[in-house]
Symmetry: C2
Subunit: 337 residues, 2 copies
């Protein structure tokens, strides 16, 4: 198999890095304090809490779900792996819409399963027929990448009712969206929501995610995950982050404002921009190929993501940066197009 | 399935915790400095190095193997999972000796595979017949837990030549032993060595491990592991730790001296102590059941591990603590037995 290829990780401070949807702002200062407080010989040398009880208590208070509905992960990718291993036999079937998160295909391949990828309509809505009723596991990224579009909660509920296996709503970007599927957990027993702390919480370097599901499911997922899948420092960081709601609400406001300005400016430059509920925008053009635009930006140390999907075509995904980064991007694009 | 049950994690500073083989000494002070230096907004908010290039360069220099022979893990348990997923089909066969690391059974169960557990002889040597030639994956913990015994390198080489699939030498405790299997990697193409930074490097809270194998194998394992399985802070910690050889050589000397004193004192108290090359000792008794001893110690806030294996019997595994902790353990045991 080919393996999943993550976006380029370049650490040159001169580079404008808008290719992997990292938060352009640093995490809450309370995160740094929490990690510093955890930097004791005793915490480093001892095994961490296997189930992350302190984090689960904090997340429970913030999200309004019981603590035993939550399972912790070494990033939400870890939980997508755990979910695949829990529900999909070798030779089994997974289902997702496409274009979407490319990792789903790798997860299916590693499991020896098939991913049934059903193309979105041109308006990024689910096609007919959808969902795939007999799938062992259905994965919906919501908001979706690369489109930034977000399906409505009533549509998700209808899909969950129709599928035989669990419906995983991959909400890595949900904190930037107008609505999310959390209220479905518990109401519909086969709904599982996964969350990442890499995007909204600006903790991609720390690797932490979690999933919310009925406690009977959580109990089984806890058997499949590595006993100590989250380390003591990431648990401290994630707990401090999820509790600092004011800091992140402010970051969110700024990013949504920048996203709006990017959408307008890119449209003025001749891009077809899909209205986004995530921290990136998806842009296509009819008048010229977009890959040279990606390459010209890269030559100017501005990194975005060129993405091409068989049968669908290609486009550019640009993360929402700081106003200064976006200004540099737009300035470069004006010269290129 | 039942799931793997890790040792109790109790954070009461009054408890003497000798149950999960943590290092009783803190990690190198350079580890704390390295983590503090990595505590920047930019490092926290950005994805870490997917393959851990800085760590691999450091480990390469220390171990004398090329960097592309190394794959990083979120603890060595993560790598045992990656190895299982890479080599064992559903319905496949894994093989190990028993009693050994109980996780191997859980890994097989999660994969839908069978673990062929072949009992050690009473002297903790491999029985005849061994190994299981047709196993998709053979796992040998060396030094072994709970025994602390260590098979010779020539015996490991002979097993590797006989088995059809890879031979994983799980060297979580090898840094405390007289010899290890690292020299076999590359010489025998199916040998894979896994290492943990939880024991010798006193970083159980940080979750970091790595495996060493031929570069062709490493390339494939890198496709199966999560892209960002090790976080930026654990990478910084692990890199600083592996480079501080003097600090850890000193810790090792102290622990080996304490292990010797424990062995003598426990023998004097009537325990049959297996000579250990790890950071724990395995103790049995003929004159009385050992579970009440475990319970009596627990009542005195001294935590060791009671382990019982079907068809083999039970015993007590006691981690090597500080001289003060061991003194408290021995004092309590004198009163109990």
């Amino acid at each position: 198999m080919a393996g999943y290829v993550p976006g380029e990780q370049i650490n040159d401070p001169g580079t404008v890095k808008l290719n992997t949807n990292e938060n352009p702002y640093p995490p809450s200062p309370r995160v740094v304090v929490a990690i510093q407080q955890a930097l004791t010989g005793d915490i480093l040398r001892k095994y961490p809490e296997p189930l992350g009880d302190h984090f689960r208590a904090a997340a429970s208070a913030v999200l309004g779900v019981p603590a035993d509905w939550i399972v912790i992960g070494n990033g939400s990718d870890d939980l997508l792996t755990v979910l695949t291993r829990s529900f999909v036999p070798q030779g089994g079937r997974m289902a997702s819409l496409t274009p979407s998160y490319v990792l789903y295909k790798s997860l299916a391949e590693i499991q020896g399963a098939t991913l049934v990828s059903v193309p979105f309509t041109q308006y990024w809505t689910p096609p007919k027929p959808w969902p795939v009723r007999e799938a062992h596991l259905t994965l919906i990224a919501n908001p979706n990448s690369p489109s930034g579009t977000n399906l409505r909660v009533d549509a998700l509920a209808a899909f969950a009712d129709e599928v035989a296996g669990p419906l995983v709503i991959d909400e890595a970007y949900a904190d930037f969206a107008e609505c999310n599927g959390l209220s479905l957990v518990g109401k519909i027993p086969n709904v599982i929501v996964t969350r990442s702390m890499s995007k909204y919480y600006a903790l991609a370097g720390v690797r932490f995610g979690f999933a919310i599901a009925e406690p009977g499911l959580i109990r089984e997922l806890n058997k499949v995950k590595d006993s100590y899948n989250a380390d003591a420092l990431s648990l401290a960081a994630a707990t401090a982050a999820i509790l600092d709601r004011a800091y992140y609400a402010d970051v969110r406001s700024r990013m949504i404002a920048t996203r709006g300005r990017m959408t307008v400016a890119l449209t003025e430059l001749g891009f077809h921009v899909t209205p986004s509920q995530a921290n990136f925008v998806w842009c296509r053009r009819e008048d010229r190929p977009v890959k040279p635009i990606y390459e010209a930006l890269k030559a100017k140390d501005i990194l975005i993501r060129y993405m091409s999907y068989p049968g669908f075509g290609d486009g550019l995904r640009m993360s929402v940066g700081t106003p200064q980064e976006v200004e540099r991007l737009l300035h470069a694009l004006r010269a290129i197009v």
